[in-house]
Amino acid sequence: MSATAPTATKSMLTLPGDAVRQILWRFADRFDLQMLVQSTRGVARGTVARLVAAGERNTHEWTPGKNDMLKAFDQAGVTAAFMEPEEGGFIAGPKNLALSLAAFELAWVDGGAATASLAGFLALAPIHERGTPEQKQHYMSLSAPAAPGEDREPWRGAFALTEPIPYVGVDTGMLSGKVRVAEWKDGEEPIIEVDKRGRFITNMGFANFVTAAVGSDDERIKGTCMVILEIGDPGTFDRGTPTKKLVHQLSSTCDPVFNLKVPASRIIGGYTVKDGVIVPNCNHGDVIEAVFRRTRVPVGIMSAAKLLSAIEPVIRYHRQRFRGAEGAKPGSLRYEQGIQQREDALHRLVDVWAAGEAASSLGFETARLFDALDPLEKQKFEIMKERGVNGGRAEMKALKESAEKALELLAMKEDDPRRAELEADPLVQFVILDAEANVLCPATKLWNTGHGANMLREAVSLMGGYGITEDCPGYLANKWMDAQLEATYEGPEAVQRRQMTVTMTNEVFLAIFRNWIREMRSIASSKPGTGACTLASAMTLWLWSLNHLQNATDPTGGKLYHGQRQGVTFALADALSWLVASRSQILDVLALEKNGPNDPVVAEDLEATVLFLSDLCYSQAALAAGEASRICAELVFGYNRHPSWDEEEHRNCFLASEIDELEETMPGIGAIALDVLGNDGSHPLKAGPCAGCAGSEEFLRLQNKLTMCLTGSRLAKDRAAETIGKVMIPEALDYPA
């Protein structure tokens, strides 16, 4: 026997396994989700990994091999994960967490595979969210994999919104795709003609149907809508040229052209005829808002998965780097630890790991939030229908009272007698969760993919030259490049920042945010090693800065917090994203600490695992705090004009001769006088007299406090690094590279 088992240790023994993840991401009680994870993992580390290893990413065409991947999705239940049990699925209820977990598993190996899976759901999502009961039943059933004994191929869908230049992007309210009435006989259903050109449309290489966004080009049709197009419809259904993507090549992307005549019943959500005009029940904006709010979360989770997938290959590479070399004899430090002898390698991997944990925590928290929000949204929809409230503005007005109640609830003491009443009000609950989701969703998409891409570059760099070869275990270079697409599709970073500009100033969200600060302080008092105090200080600084900037102006009197002033608003959105990710990470570790003892597998190494993950939290909180501090300081001070050495502005400076005189009565004043002009009018070599901080003293106090709150964070990083140097990893990666 080679060793004696340690009886007690503070160092995490192995990489966190499924049991730990299930508690962290709160699906330990969901067997349907645990099985989905296992079955999706089987496809990812089997079929998908073999496709990547065989070079299927080297072609833009849709190949038989890539098609086999779709069949593997069907057989493993991945396709059916989106369906209700009565439609051929196996997961009842909201599916945001389910789809996020599936995306996580697929992206662990290849982002394109995850995209191919998600794009099918994206095509169905408009029908699922806003379709008529007939549309839902028809298309969900067609898209469900064949049941045992059935002989049919499931239908595949594509979602067509993005159009060729100049209408590129999903933030636009303008559509070049048009719909007009082709034929409308008395007493019969109208036939509409859809004319649409798409760009970068995923799944287009094989889709049987398309959900396309179009605008009216006919006075007999009102506004915009989404229409379902099928491959057999009369007219042109041209899949178009495959896009020459450098990334995500396991998903099919084309620029299709459609000119098709279809019955008006294909308008998603149906229509009503009013005064001889077809009025779609849902405009395209309503539909895509409902869809993207949910589908953007799994995209953020894809980047998170890739970060965590990089840990094991990097550790193995670092440990084995020198083995076989003349100077690395077995048993020597160089042989056993390889590059892990160097603090820098360990510290950089701590950063990658911490970012992966934070991104996963944020993404899964948001997915769970949408699972909670979905039934409330349906309730709200029904209540509004009963009240005869229709349309965005009318609904906002109707929800105003609920928003006030929500603010009351959020500020309420635990034992307030009205608490139960307000908590039972579905509209109040909806307003609260909606406000939270409206920030966390874009934050997930923005931060996970944006910062994720940066950290994936770091992971690649940790593999040296190997990192940018096809042979790199874990396909890290692919994952790095793929992350750029994840940051771009389904609403690029600017769109997410723009959304946050609006949603992060919602009073309900800000009330939630203030509660989060209190929550972090409370956690900090009992769990000081998590970085919660650091984070609370950073959150306080951000909130102060937001309030300040909402009222501040620049030297010309221009408002600083303004929709068009993206230098301010977008930067604050970036800072907030760092903070919410860090918060989610801390909450997950607390959940593990609380629930871990119930699982004997987790309990075995719980203390050390919690300690390590807490150290990652602390390290990440320090990074987030630093980022928020930098951004806020730049915004609070950066829009003040710097004083110059002109006559007007330096007249308050001391002259050297004055200082000499004062020195006689106040010895030492010369040492503290900053801006002293020479008797000949010369001035110190700098841009101008130092700027004052009038009006910003509170900011400096908060920032100073924040700086001191970083105390201990590097010690946490050292501990985490030490664990990474010791943790046991498998002998080999469990998928081919």
């Binding site: 080679s2 060793a3 499924d18 099985m35 994870v37 239940g77 498998p730």
Partner: protein, 270 residues
């Protein structure tokens, strides 16, 4: 239904073979370092037995299939999230210790006792399946002992195939030396079959099957009987992993025959 079978598969759980497996001495005896926290899988040989059993049950309508497994129930539950998606079965969990080092007699007694307690089981009609080998220590006798304790004396080892005939008798192919099979015909159940690899591929995961299985698996896990396994005086002097040797040469100009000849020469020399 003349051939409605009662098939019981005994299958343990073992650490995922990709993990680093390092023998250590625990206070209770030998073990694998960090075994409790390492990901586990169904023992691969026993898994082959399970897939063959499920195939046999499908071919013989009305058959029942039970999977009897001894291990910490939290680990069993994790493993079931994958195994339960492969084929339909009822789980009979026995909440016991992990690892390949407990005494085979004690383990066999616990398994036999669990099998006897299965409601509706008829020991005279049981086909008892298991692995011929194990990815853990592999005492090599546990399945035989379970059979003996259940009074099943017709036993076959290294099984690769079973063909059940209409009259309930069956033909069994057992591995023998030289890459050949010994063919036996047995008059019928009960019998013990220790499977080699069989001939079936691992079924794909199917969450629909998993969800159906879970209806019985979760209640069974909750009610799993806890057992302690007596050492019966068993002690280990040492435990170590089989030695590994790796000699890699890159050769591009040899024929397959020449490579094979060199391999044979090397193996014989070893």
């Amino acid at each position: 239904m003349a051939n409605a079978l009662q098939i019981v598969v005994c299958a343990g759980i073992v650490p995922d073979p990709l993990q680093t497996l390092e023998p250590v001495t625990n206070p209770t005896g030998p073990g694998i370092k960090n075994e409790m926290v390492l990901p586990a899988v169904l023992d691969p040989w026993a898994a082959s037995a399970l897939y063959e059993a499920a195939n046999l049950a499908t071919k013989n309508p009305g058959s029942k299939l039970w999977l009897v497994s001894l291990g910490p129930k939290a680990k069993l539950q994790q493993v079931m999230m994958t195994v339960a998606q492969k084929v339909a079965f009822e789980l009979v969990p026995v909440d016991g210790p992990l690892g390949g080092f407990p005494d085979a007699h004690s383990t066999a007694a616990a398994l036999a006792s669990a099998i006897e307690a299965i409601p509706g089981i008829d020991k005279t009609k049981v086909l008892l399946f298991g692995g011929w080998e194990s990815a853990s220590r592999g005492a090599g006798v546990t399945l035989q002992l379970v059979g003996e304790k259940l009074g099943i004396v017709d036993q076959f080892q290294g099984v690769d195939q079973i063909d059940v005939r209409d009259d309930g008798s069956f033909e069994v192919l057992e591995r023998v030396e030289g890459g050949r099979h010994q063919v036996s015909v047995c008059a019928g159940a009960p019998a013990v079959l220790g499977w080699a690899t069989g001939s079936l591929a691992e079924p794909r995961n199917n969450p629909q099957i998993g969800m159906a299985n879970m209806r019985t698996i979760m209640p069974a896990l909750q009610k799993a009987k806890a057992v302690t396994l007596d050492a019966n005086g068993l002690s280990y002097v040492s435990a170590k992993l089989p030695s590994q040797q790796r000699e890699t040469r890159v050769v591009k100009d040899m024929t397959p025959d020449a490579i094979a000849a060199e391999l044979v020469e090397w193996i014989v020399a070893e």
